[in-house]
Symmetry: C2
Subunit: 143 residues, 2 copies
DNA sequence: TGTATAATTGAAAAAGATTTTCATTATCAA
DNA sequence: TTGATAATGAAAATCTTTTTCAATTATACA
């Protein structure tokens, strides 16, 4: 009777099945991100990771984020200042609402908008290839 | 019989009326941006500007963009890589559709969406303070 | 018209975020 | 157990943007 695999175990399997090796630093980073409810920047993740893995390098954080993004495990959050933060990826295509105070992030769907976006693009003679929608505000706790 | 003021003359007046001085470098940057139909990055703007004003410094480009943004003359375009580009600002709140090939940008309205965004925020317990919507694709020329 | 003052300029240095290089170490298939 | 090779972290390099600073210039006003 084995318990259902945790999120971080799933992510580690995904990495391994994709040909990546499982290492201490990688495990720590994956475990933190898989359990994360708010957007984290590379430096924040680095600081959290070092508590578990003192020798951890910031480069490894960047490299692991890159792989997790490539595998669709995490997704980038665009910040107004240009820096990026990361969140566990939503399944399917979803959009984000992010608390400007504490970083808490939640996903929402917007199927109805996709049609609207395509229509707008068509009216301007554009072929739509990508879109970005993020809402910013204050979460229930922070307001 | 004076002709109606050009866009760049208007922008220069706005700068002057806001207490900023009119200088050669500033004029050149304003003239390029006011006539621009595609999103420009600071370095591109710098290269264009140097043709008119050989001694121009990149710092002055950044500083002038900052002032034009503050006065609502230009608006930032967020790029996926984190860097910023700039466009003449739309009047009122509009959204952008940008060509990934040539940078051509057009505005579109989305009043109907604002209500939807507020509803989404409310459902998640958030108070909405800002939103970002940008569409990316290929313009008629580029596809 | 000069002149004083404060704004503006560009070079250079600094700051930050991210990426690259490289020698060493660790994983894992055989 | 071992060997090929992936992964690591330190350090250096990149790239964009900001700050500092001494010299120059626009502009209000005498
Ligand atoms: Mn969407
Ligand atoms: Mn941005
Ligand atoms: Zn919050
Ligand atoms: Zn185009």
């Amino acid at each position: 009777m084995s318990a259902s695999p945790t999120m971080s175990e799933q992510w580690l399997s995904t990495l391994q099945n994709s040909g990546y090796r499982l290492t201490g630093p990688r495990r720590v980073i994956v475990e933190i991100m898989a359990a994360c409810e708010r957007a984290l920047g590379p430096l924040e993740l680095f600081d959290l990771g070092r508590k578990e893995q003192p020798g951890l390098g910031l480069v490894t954080v960047y490299r692991t984020l890159e792989k997790m993004e490539e595998l669709g495990l995490v997704q980038r959050v665009h910040q107004p200042n240009g820096c990026h933060m990361y969140l566990p990826a939503a399944r399917g295509h979803q959009h984000l609402i992010i608390c400007q105070q504490c970083g808490k992030a939640e996903y929402f769907e917007g199927e109805d908008m996709e049609a609207f976006f395509n229509q707008v693009a068509g009216e301007h003679g554009f072929t739509l290839r990508e879109h970005w929608l993020q809402l910013f505000g204050l979460c229930a706790n922070c307001k």
